[in-house]
């Protein structure tokens, strides 16, 4: 069972903050990139925090979306080698996608936020649609 | 106008002689010799071998720098459309020469290069750097191998786009190329599965990255009675590098006595390694091979004894096959000397 306790969300996605702050512990990093989030989580995992969601969730590629939310545990435990490898490989994978030099409009940015948010909700068994309604986000 | 080709072969394929003639230096001859005929036959006049370079395998191994310079200068002068070496089949030193000289020509002259050999030839370690056509393990495979090399060579000369390794017959070189198979993926999967179930050979379409993992040995609960050995690919050698271990692509390793040395100090030790800034290693070789700390542990009784000899080579670009051979050899020496555990350091 997935409980909102003893987990924290590492994210740069403001939509996650808007909707989920009420229910989860969130560490929000405004304005940092997708890769920066991977690095932050890698460092946490290397120091013994449990990795709870896959860092490469979603088919929107790392050189496309700028938003990333990853869930880790709140307690320092023994370092999990498997999770360290996962984070290391995720960063290697991220780096192989070449920059696309696209300037996004607000509309695209909000869609990227939405997809990251739904991936996170999918992982946490949180009702993504209900969350948006409750936060009064109608036309996103 | 036909394309012009320079062909590199060893003393044996030039009919100069066997091992007893392996010392002959590189010489340039006009026209084709030996296997060159098979290439020209396959090219049907579209390309000709204007020159053949004949070089003894021992000469190349022992005078690599000189041999490379000579060959590169000739090729620069001749300006061919292709440099082709071998095929070397399973002849280790010949394969090594073919790959190295081809790579040198590619880097120094910038023309297309190509060689061919058996997949287990140590020269095949270069398959990510130059195109190598896989051949049989003996010269009996010439009839099949030469036309494959000729076809790929012609493609390179024409400047055509390189197909996938299985289409154009070169050893997979780490560059993934798309192409269309005759059967769809699901059918190929079922066929592969049936072969796997029935113990028949099958070839994966995507080889997993080869990490060549080694299972760690069992933990030693009490180190206080253990004779501990040391080995390194960091190039630690007595000052002056008496065994002349190469700065890269090492061909051998050294065995060095540390009896009486409490620490690997700068007056006695340095590194032969050419792949990193040697300043810090030369200042204090314990940074590469921690003899100082281990001596202290020896005194404190934390380890039984530090083995009298350590083994050292340079890991910089050294072929995996060579490294394996070195380690197999010195591991036996260590075992014979009663070494029970070993620390291997890298840089």
């Amino acid at each position: 069972m997935k409980s909102p306790h003893r987990i924290r969300i590492i994210t740069n996605n403001p939509l996650v903050v808007t909707v989920l702050s009420e229910y989860y512990t969130i560490e929000y990093y405004e304005g940092i990139g997708y890769r920066d989030i991977l690095v932050k989580v890698r460092d946490l995992v290397y120091s013994g925090y449990e990795l709870l969601t896959h860092p490469l969730a979603g088919s929107v590629k790392p050189n496309e979306t700028m938003f990333k939310s990853i869930v880790v545990g709140t307690d320092m435990k023994a370092v999990e080698i498997e999770h360290c490898n996962l984070m290391m490989n995720a960063i290697i994978t991220c780096d192989k996608f070449k920059p696309r030099n696209v300037t996004y409009s607000d509309y695209h940015i909000k869609d990227f936020q939405l997809i990251d948010y739904t991936l996170l909700c999918g992982a946490l068994d949180f009702d993504a649609i209900a969350g948006l309604s409750k936060a009064n986000i109608n036309s996103y | 106008m036909a394309f012009r080709v320079v062909h590199y072969i060893n003393q044996f394929f030039a009919n100069v002689g066997g091992e007893e003639m392996a010392h002959i230096p590189a010489e340039l001859r006009e026209g084709k010799i030996g296997p060159g005929l098979a290439f020209e036959t396959a090219w049907k006049g579209e390309a000709v071998i204007t020159h053949t370079i004949v070089c003894g395998d021992s000469f190349f191994a022992e005078h690599e720098k000189e041999a490379k310079e000579t060959v590169v200068n000739w090729v620069k002068e001749i300006k061919p459309d292709l440099f082709i070496a071998g095929p070397a089949f399973n002849a280790g030193r010949y394969g090594y020469a073919c790959s190295n000289i081809a790579l040198e020509v590619k880097q120094q002259v910038g023309i297309p290069v190509l060689t061919g050999m058996y997949v287990e030839n140590p020269g095949a370690d270069y398959k990510d750097k130059i195109l190598i056509v896989p051949t049989a393990n003996s010269a009996a495979g010439m009839r099949k191998g030469a036309p494959m090399m000729a076809a790929l060579g012609l493609k390179l000369m024409k400047g055509e786009k390189l197909g996938a390794s299985c289409e154009d017959n070169y050893m997979p070189n780490g560059v993934r190329v798309n192409f269309f198979e005759k059967e769809r993926g699901a059918k190929r999967a079922v066929k592969m599965l049936l072969n796997k179930i029935n113990g028949k050979p099958f070839v994966t379409e995507f080889p997993m990255p080869d990490f060549d993992r080694v299972e760690p040995g069992k933990a030693i609960p009490d180190m206080s009675k253990v004779v501990l050995g040391l080995a390194t690919s960091g190039g630690t050698v007595p000052k002056g590098n008496p065994d002349r271990i190469e700065a890269s692509n090492a061909s051998h390793y050294g065995e060095y006595d540390i009896e009486g040395w409490d620490s690997l100090t700068a007056d006695g030790w340095e590194t032969a390694h050419g792949g990193y800034d040697p300043v810090y290693a030369n200042e204090d070789s314990n940074r590469v091979l921690p003899v100082d700390v281990l001596r202290q542990m020896e005194r404190e009784g934390k380890i039984g004894k530090l083995h009298r000899y350590f083994y050292s080579t340079v890991g910089n670009g050294t072929a995996v096959a060579s490294s394996r051979k070195f380690a197999e050899e010195y591991a036996k020496k260590m075992l014979a000397a009663g070494v029970q555990a070993c620390i291997m350091t890298s840089t």
Binding site: T53, V60, F97, A123 | R176, E183, K187, I197, T204, E205
Partner: protein, 430 residues
């Protein structure tokens, strides 16, 4: 369980005043289809308009952004109906008889998010890579009611496509098929008795289950919420599994792929000859790591329970699913069940990068559908069905992807079904 598929060969699709299948021609009155599609609350609430068009092989036509492709089918005999739990009631399907309008497809297009993708070119370079350049496509472009949320729009377009396919499929109900093929798998004891000498083979079918535009449905259930389970291969031929995904269209399974699962087809080809095709195990590709552990554990447990000797494992997607693929592979191999994996690669435009985000030496038998990062140039087309404004923004696109002349320079991953990981296509890589 035994299912007969009656294939009605469709050689042309035409708009007409009537709706019928006659002499291999599918006649469609768009108004009739529209009326059937709109007889649904979601469609009524969220879809402002739908327009139909026809795209045929060889035409200078580009369809985009494609959401789903669906083959029209109809249940003729036996329990249930096509798309159980969504269009038909939840009865167990996969037995009796089903008619297929072979050669025809319903393609839905509609921009749900700004970076969506999915291109089907009916001719030119791009046509080589998508299987849907070879089908006669009835294309439905859906426009949302203003202010519709993405979730609602996605669901409404999904329903609209399935309803259109259901309506068109029903036109084949009373038509005599050109060819009838029969597919049957057996109970565990029965199969073992029938084929005592043959290796017992299963299919571990991984489903994309991550979130909006990344979902798959089984009998109407969001597959994120399932634990690995068993399904008869013939159930998939009646629409038990359907697609809710379209991001990174190259390696996502459309509903058409699920209906025509090539692994199922090829295993049936060998069934009773060189192997005993026991059944499919479906499992998911969730984001939560504990879900992955559970999913792959259960898939392995079920394979053992069925005494399988070997399985084919197909992936859907890239990155996160690579972890599931390797977990599924290693867990099966470690209990002595031999595996062959089907995947695709993201080896970079130059083909030099590491193809998968996870790997293991036990994965020694892999079929690849090619490198999705390969760059392609798609020539301009005379006609575009849908809209092109998203092209620069999608996976596989970049700034300037859409050139002034209408040609598109992008990665293969922009093309619907190009590197399908069920092994639908012939493309591979070395």
């Amino acid at each position: 369980m035994k299912l007969e598929l009656g294939f009605i060969k469709i050689n042309d699709v035409q708009f007409s005043n009537e709706c019928a299948v006659k002499d291999g021609i599918l006649y469609v009155n768009p108004e009739d289809v529209k009326a059937f599609v709109y007889d649904n609350d979601d469609v009524k609430s969220y879809i402002k308009s739908i327009n139909f068009d026809i795209a045929k092989p060889g035409e200078s036509v580009r369809i985009t952004p494609v959401k789903d492709v669906i083959e029209p089918r109809v249940k003729v005999e036996g329990p249930g109906g096509i798309f159980p739990g969504v269009i038909a009631k939840v009865d167990t399907v996969g037995s009796g008889r089903t008619h297929v309008l072979k050669g025809a497809a319903i393609v839905t297009a509609g921009k749900i998010v700004g970076f969506q993708e999915g291109i089907i070119d009916m001719s030119g370079e791009g046509a080589k890579y998508t299987p849907f350049s070879k089908t006669l496509n009835l294309v439905m472009v859906a426009e949302p009611v203003e202010g519709t949320k993405q979730h609602d729009y996605e669901r409404a377009v999904r329903f609209a496509g399935l309803r259109a396919a259901t309506f068109v499929g029903a036109l084949g109900k009373d038509v005599e098929p050109d060819e009838v093929k029969s597919f049957e798998t057996y109970g565990i004891m029965e199969g073992a008795k029938l084929f005592p000498e043959l290796p017992r083979v299963g299919y571990v079918h991984m489903l994309q289950t991550q979130g909006l535009l990344h979902d798959t449905y089984v009998y109407g259930v969001d597959a994120k919420r399932i634990v690995a389970t068993l399904i008869n291969p013939t159930e998939t031929m009646d629409g038990a599994i359907l697609s809710g995904n379209c991001v990174s269209a190259t390696d996502k399974n459309t509903t058409y792929h699920h209906l025509n699962n090539p692994v199922v087809a090829e295993l049936f080809e060998e069934h009773g000859k060189s192997l005993n095709y026991v059944c499919n195990i479906i499992t998911n590709e969730n984001v939560y790591l504990a879900d992955k552990q559970r999913g792959s554990d259960w898939a392995a447990k079920l394979a053992k329970l069925l005494d399988l000797d070997a399985v084919i494992i197909s992936e859907e997607g890239f990155g996160n699913p690579d972890a599931d693929l390797i977990m599924n592979c290693t867990k099966q191999e470690k209990q002595g069940i031999k595996t062959v994996l089907i995947t695709d690669e993201y080896a970079g435009c130059d083909g030099k990068s590491q193809s998968l985000a996870d790997s293991d030496p036990l994965a020694d038998a892999v079929v690849t559908a090619g490198n999705a990062n390969m760059e392609v140039v798609l020539p301009p087309m005379d006609k575009v069905i849908g809209m092109l404004d998203y092209v620069d923004y999608c996976s596989g696109g970049h700034a300037g992807s859409l050139r002034p002349d209408g040609s598109i320079e992008a990665e293969l991953q922009i093309i619907t079904g190009a590197t399908n990981e069920m092994g639908f296509n012939c493309m591979s890589a070395r």
